[in-house]
């Protein structure tokens, strides 16, 4: 069975907690806080003011550039504020606050469950609809989807890759989506194929989800050009470049090269479902499936949640916070960001809330690096994390840049594998942020 060629680790997947619970709709919150920067790129520009009435699906903020995304009202009601609100890390970001009044959707949105398979739109129209719906990569990276689908001149897409890997431990939102919304997913895939004019699509799913593979394989027989491939379970297979390597054997060169340079366009499985809804049902991105999970959580669930819903209400729905010290992550344990503010809202990239308690919540005491090079072996990008850590301590940013820090995908394999408990990812993330800042400053000077 295939997997990516270099590095990778094998953390225990811990999907058992939430994999059996079907997607349920989360109760509508009374107040939502919708941040304007829910995606990579420029923040959206707000289009509403305090006191305005909005319906579900109404545009409240417009993309602030090409690499940006529209944002729509996730509930109907009155705008009560457009101001700075703390995010999950406690830092203040511009956000629109809406107080709910009922649940009134825009009339143009088709809310029926009926499957619409045929799509007669031109590629440009499809991309325009996706852009209008504010769809971003829902695996966590939140890169605006319409940017991926706008193939630059002189380049050609050969294959569409659908990421159903969900390699991050604990999370099951994509898995449940593939099981319960397989038809919609495949229609979404055919729409995406049409948008980038390819006749082949591959859905990659790790073999720790055999039922999802079987289900999609059975459904895919009715669709032309869509192939479902099982992959050997290995973290971080859901990384764009790792998945391309695993499925096509092609290696994407270091930045600024993109997957399109090897003829591939990668979209997440949940994104494909969102594309189906946007194009066939005219429904903008206003909700997503969020896995709320953890070994000590009373009732782990997969909740279909409107954006802007406070994280604490999701945790309350799943039985509340467990006793004692806990670590709450926005995302999974490998790449998730620790949260300090539970009143912060669910955003487009929030695939799960993982609650670790007891000894899982704690980090080991770090000791000296013995240069065992386990991190080098584990790095899927072929970097040398121990070296980057030492350079970061010395603030040798030019050396770090020379060592290709910009290739780092922040997967955390190095930190996971380190026998000395050194928080390599902490250092590498800081170094990457700093070096990216230096590069940006240099480019603007030019």
């Amino acid at each position: 069975m295939r997997t990516f060629p270099i590095g990778g680790v094998h953390p225990s997947d811990n999907k058992k907690w939430s994999k059996a619970s079907a997607i349920e709709a989360m109760e509508l919150p009374d107040v939502v806080v919708v941040p304007l920067a829910q995606h990579i790129g420029a923040p959206a520009v707000v289009k509403v003011a305090k006191g305005d009435k909005v319906k579900v699906g109404e545009l409240i903020a417009e993309a602030g550039g090409f690499v940006s995304a529209n944002i729509h009202a996730p509930i109907s009601g009155t705008i009560t504020a457009v101001d700075l609100q703390p995010n999950g890390q406690g830092l203040r970001q511009m956000a629109v606050t809406i107080k709910r009044e009922g649940d009134e959707w825009l009339e143009s949105i088709d809310r029926s469950e009926e499957l619409v398979r045929d799509c007669s739109l031109e590629p440009a129209e499809i991309v325009a609809r996706i852009k209008a719906a504010g769809i971003v990569g829902m695996g966590g990276a939140t890169f605006p989807t319409h940017v991926k689908l706008s193939i630059p001149e002189g380049k050609r897409a050969e294959v569409l890759i659908i990421n159903g890997v969900e390699c991050e431990p604990y999370l099951t939102s994509d898995y449940r989506t593939m099981l319960e919304r397989g038809e919609q997913l495949l229609v979404g895939v055919s729409i995406l194929m049409k948008a980038i004019s390819v006749d082949r699509a591959v859905v990659g799913v790790e073999n720790n989800k055999p039922d999802a593979i079987e289900h999609l394989k059975a459904l895919a027989k009715e669709y032309v050009g869509i192939e479902v491939k099982a992959l050997k379970t290995m973290y971080p297979q859901g990384g764009e470049k790792q998945l391309i390597a695993a499925l096509t054997g092609r290696e994407v060169p270091p930045p600024p090269a993109l997957p399109i340079d090897v003829g591939a366009v990668v979209c997440n499985a949940s994104t494909a479902v969102a594309v189906y809804e946007a194009v066939q049902k005219n429904k903008p991105l206003v909700e997503r499936v969020v896995t709320v999970t953890g070994a000590s959580l009373a009732e782990p669930r997969n909740l279909l949640t409107r954006f802007g819903t406070p994280v604490e209400s999701l945790i309350a729905r799943c039985g509340g916070l467990p006793e004692g010290d806990v670590r709450i992550l926005n995302g999974g344990p490998m790449m998730g960001r620790p949260m300090s503010n539970l009143a912060s809202p669910v955003m487009k990239g929030c695939s799960g809330i993982t609650i670790l308690s007891g000894k899982d919540a704690l980090r080991g005491e770090p000791s000296a690096c013995i240069k065992c090079a386990k991190c080098v072996e584990a790095c899927p990008m072929g970097l040398e994390p121990y070296l980057l850590q030492r350079y970061t301590v010395k603030k040798a940013w030019d050396e770090i840049e020379r060592n290709d820090i910009t290739s780092c995908i922040e997967c955390g394999c190095c930190q996971f594998t380190c026998p000395a408990n050194i928080a390599l990812l902490d250092y590498v993330r800081l170094a990457k942020q700093t070096v990216m800042g230096i590069i940006r400053a240099r480019n603007t000077k030019k």
Partner: protein, 282 residues
């Protein structure tokens, strides 16, 4: 016996030959260096802190000797006396600068600023501030992991375990500025050094609105502007919900200290003003 003599002779010959080669090579490649550079370097403190912007004291000495106009060069560690003696030796005019001292502008000690989370990551302010807001709800305050302590070459700064804040020992501080650039929150400022290390400064850098600041910390500046109103010297400005006392204009009159409702204005080495007696007709 002969072997021994030949060995000694040959070794001596090689030694003399090598010495000759070295002598001529050294003459051919001799670099003319101003002897004054050595003298100036000896006059400098030799801390090699880099506070002047040069790689070390020798590079600074070289710049002092080579440049005609040295008004832009200043050694904060040596201070005015050192600069004067170097300038008179070189026959140039040195810049005159106020002696400065580093000031940590955060008063959010453990009792004033409640902890909301526990940080278990790497003990580094740079990493913690890249990760999240910090252990309290103030996004601007001192994190207390000691990046400034590590940056200080003079042992002048430490993190007080009781308050969780960085503290400067003004007697040891040379105002080299290493801590200023090490602090990811931009809390440390170089301020005018008064005799006996007296000082008045706003011990807060929070640009949040008053209500937000108050919620996070009892000692924060809420930007009410009362201090700016009483200042007779125009030293206080309030911008972005934050008061700032310009140390060049401040005369240590202490009026602002009494006005501040959150006691965010700190006073060092000064007695508080006696409470003003209010009369009816005032």
């Amino acid at each position: 016996m002969n072997t021994l003599i030949y060995t000694i002779l040959i070794l001596c010959a090689i030694g003399v030959g090598a010495a000759l080669i070295l002598y001529f090579v050294a003459r051919a490649f001799h670099v003319e260096e101003d002897p004054r550079i050595d003298d100036v370097e000896k006059m400098l403190p030799g801390a090699n802190c880099g506070g002047c912007g040069f790689a070390g004291c020798r590079a600074f000495a070289q710049a002092m000797v080579e440049r005609d106009d040295i008004s832009e060069l200043y050694c904060a560690v040596g201070g005015g006396d050192c600069m004067k003696s170097v300038a008179s030796y070189l026959g140039k005019v040195a810049a005159e600068k106020q002696p400065m001292t580093a000031t940590v502008r955060c008063g959010g000690s453990c009792d004033k600023r409640p902890r909301t989370t526990t940080y278990a990551g790497t003990r580094s302010c740079a990493i913690a501030s890249a990760t999240y807001i910090g252990e309290t709800n103030c996004a601007y305050g001192c994190l207390g992991y000691g990046d400034c302590v590590e940056a200080c070459a003079f042992g002048a700064i430490r993190v007080n375990p009781e308050t969780g804040l960085a503290e400067v020992d003004a007697d040891k501080c040379t105002a080299c500025g290493a801590c200023v650039s090490a602090c990811p929150k931009g809390i440390i400022e170089l301020r005018k050094r008064w005799p006996k290390n007296r000082a008045i400064y706003v011990s807060c850098v929070s640009k949040d609105k008053g209500a937000v600041t108050m919620k996070a910390c009892k000692a924060g500046c809420i930007g009410c502007g009362k201090c700016a109103k009483v200042c007779e010297f125009g030293a206080i400005t309030v911008e972005n919900n934050l008061a700032f006392i310009d140390s060049a204009k401040c005369r240590l009159c202490r009026k602002c200290v009494a006005e501040c409702p959150t006691a965010a204005i700190k006073m060092i080495g000064l007695a508080p003003l006696p409470p003003k007696e209010k009369t009816e007709n005032q």
